[in-house]
């Protein structure tokens, strides 16, 4: 457990000592604030559902850029040899890297809560759906991060890892479009069930949907198990 803590600390140091986390968090805060203000001032849409939708799209753009380095960078810098000869299991290595990404994600979302201030000043928002919505966006971001970690454990190159993650996320987001070909078939129902864009709708409305949470939780678990297994295969 102590070794896990040291690895997590190093990962966090890497994000927060270098400009990676600062730039990513600043861009996320600025962009989410800009979209919220734009909608409030020019579209007169002062609701958190739109804000959560925009945050989800921003995370789809940014999480692959954060996750691409997790293992591909270690391989490029030959430090993966060090990690794999340390008295740590592969699960601990992947776990520490994933937890560090979640901390960055939390920091991104925590700063964006400032947009609630004008809502509270000029209205009477219902905080339940807002908290639920933030939980939903966090779960969605965590799923994006897990897919990114898995892609990074396959790719030797960071850019390849990022592009592969974008490709996987776009596929997962738009996969339900194919259901339009035969909307009443079983395949269409399945495509809608696995589509991120369908599953996240309840979450960003602040509804704690058991189905959506189970689906995104399963995606996270499968992706992290795949990443651990891929790391094990490197030893074969």
């Amino acid at each position: 457990m102590r070794a896990f803590g040291w690895l997590l600390r190093r990962e966090l140091q890497h994000y927060f000592v270098t400009p990676i986390a600062a730039v990513s968090i600043a861009v996320f805060w600025a962009a989410s604030g800009f979209f919220f203000s734009f909608n409030a001032l020019f579209v007169s849409a002062v609701d958190m559902v739109t804000a959560f939708h925009n945050m989800s799209l921003l995370l789809m753009l940014m999480m692959p850029l954060l996750s691409m380095r997790t293992l591909a960078e270690e391989r490029q810098a030959d430090t993966l040899e060090l990690l794999l000869t340390l008295p740590l299991g592969e699960g601990a290595i992947i776990g520490a890297k994933y937890c560090a990404l979640l901390v960055v994600l939390l920091a991104m979302l925590a700063g964006s809560t400032l947009i609630i201030v004008p809502l509270a000043l000029y209205g009477a928002p219902d905080y339940g759906p807002i908290v639920g919505g933030y939980l939903g966006v966090f779960v969605l971001g965590a799923a994006f991060a897990a897919i990114g970690v898995c892609a990074s454990s396959i790719a030797r190159n960071q850019v390849v890892a990022a592009v592969s993650t974008w490709a996987a996320l776009l596929l997962a987001w738009f996969i339900d479009y194919a259901a339009a070909l035969d909307p009443l078939s079983g395949a269409a129902r399945w495509l809608q069930h696995v589509s991120f864009s369908v599953q996240y709708v309840d979450l960003i409305r602040g509804v704690i949907s058991r189905e959506a949470l189970t689906w995104f939780g399963s995606v996270i678990a499968v992706m992290l198990v795949c990443a651990v297994q891929l790391l094990r295969w490197r030893r074969l």
């Binding site: 040291w6 600390r9 140091q13 000869t85 340390l86 008295p87 074969l236």
Partner: protein, 328 residues
């Protein structure tokens, strides 16, 4: 120094291997790299691993370090099997790959603290271990500097320091002097000799002088198996060392005290505080390593080589035999 195993450990039976590779086989797709490799490494031994490019030297070291799993066979560290279920055992093996694994944005101290932490050192030992290796490898002056800004010689020292920080039983070095300048090579060799105290060391190299200067045993990878070169090929009888110290008398006494048959000429002064020692060994490789250790610990060892390089020429002849397909 804590990273150097104590004399008590050195006196433990050398017959008990700290590392055993038994019938190890490894193939990459259809290419067989190792095929029934056997090796037992004793405490205090420095084993030179020779072989042409692609012969499996790095694969052997990676398997011994627990980085790769063999397709067949077993690896034991101090009698315990090294398996995926026992990652903690990897803490007893220090490994320096050919390309030193360093995090360039970290400071030297930060990196060593990280390695000490993940290698499982307790909070009490942690700080002392970092201070020890910083001192042992002359890294105190650069402890606060970012690794990415340091020269190759410093990077190599940091690599050795990380491999030794948890005082492992086994030290594995993959071409540790590759790319270093002549001064850095001398320095690295002295560090390897010092590090061998009380633990087993295997290092791979292409440089015969290195094998001649450091090893107690030489093994050659041939057709996926290890062949120990004949003792005659590994036994240099004479050593020539250059040391830096004010008075060589204590060093001479310490070397003479190692064994009854060791002969030494009167030290020749090469300059202020620089002395040349010509040493006649009592026996083969074991004394050679012991002498090297004493020289490195009682004085500043500037250079160490075989007088006339008999060992090198013997090794060359032995290796020429392998090239012709006939083992020595």
């Amino acid at each position: 120094m804590r990273w150097a195993r104590g004399a008590a450990r050195l006196s433990e039976s050398r017959a008990t291997p700290v590392l055993t590779l038994r019938d190890v086989a490894k193939r990459y797709r259809r290419r067989v790299v190792l095929d029934g490799l056997d090796l037992a490494l004793g405490r205090g031994e420095i084993v030179g691993l020779l072989g042409p490019n692609g012969s499996g030297k790095t694969t052997t070291l990676r398997i011994a370090a627990g980085l790769l799993w063999p397709d067949r066979g077993a690896v034991e560290v101090a009698g315990e099997p090294l398996t995926p279920e026992q990652p903690a055992l990897r803490a007893r093996v220090g490994y320096l790959p050919e390309r030193v694994p360093l995090y360039d944005p970290m400071t030297v101290r930060g990196y060593l603290e990280f390695v000490a932490g993940v290698r499982g050192l307790s909070a009490a030992r942690h700080r002392a271990a970092v201070a020890d290796v910083l001192g042992a490898f002359d890294l105190e002056a650069v402890a606060g500097r970012v690794i990415g800004h340091l020269s190759k010689g410093f990077r190599q020292r940091i690599g050795l320091a990380q491999a030794l920080i948890a005082a492992p039983d086994v030290l594995l070095l993959d071409e540790p002097t590759n790319g270093l300048d002549p001064f850095q090579i001398i320095e690295a060799r002295a560090m390897i000799v010092r590090a061998s105290e009380g633990r087993g060391v295997i290092f791979s190299t292409h440089i015969l002088q290195e094998v001649a200067a450091l090893c107690t045993r030489v093994v050659y990878l041939h057709g996926g198996r290890l062949i120990t070169l004949s003792p005659a090929a590994c036994a240099a009888r004479r050593l020539r060392a250059v040391i830096v110290c004010a008075d060589p008398a204590p060093v001479v006494d310490a070397v003479r005290g190692l064994a009854a048959g060791i002969g030494m000429r009167v030290p020749q002064a090469l300059g202020p505080r620089r002395w040349q020692l010509d040493i006649e060994l009592a026996d083969g490789g074991a004394s050679r390593a012991a002498v090297a250790r004493v020289l490195a610990t009682t004085a500043e060892l500037e250079s160490l080589g075989g007088d006339g390089f008999e060992l090198e020429s013997a090794l060359e002849q032995a290796l020429a035999g392998f090239a012709d397909g006939a083992p020595a």
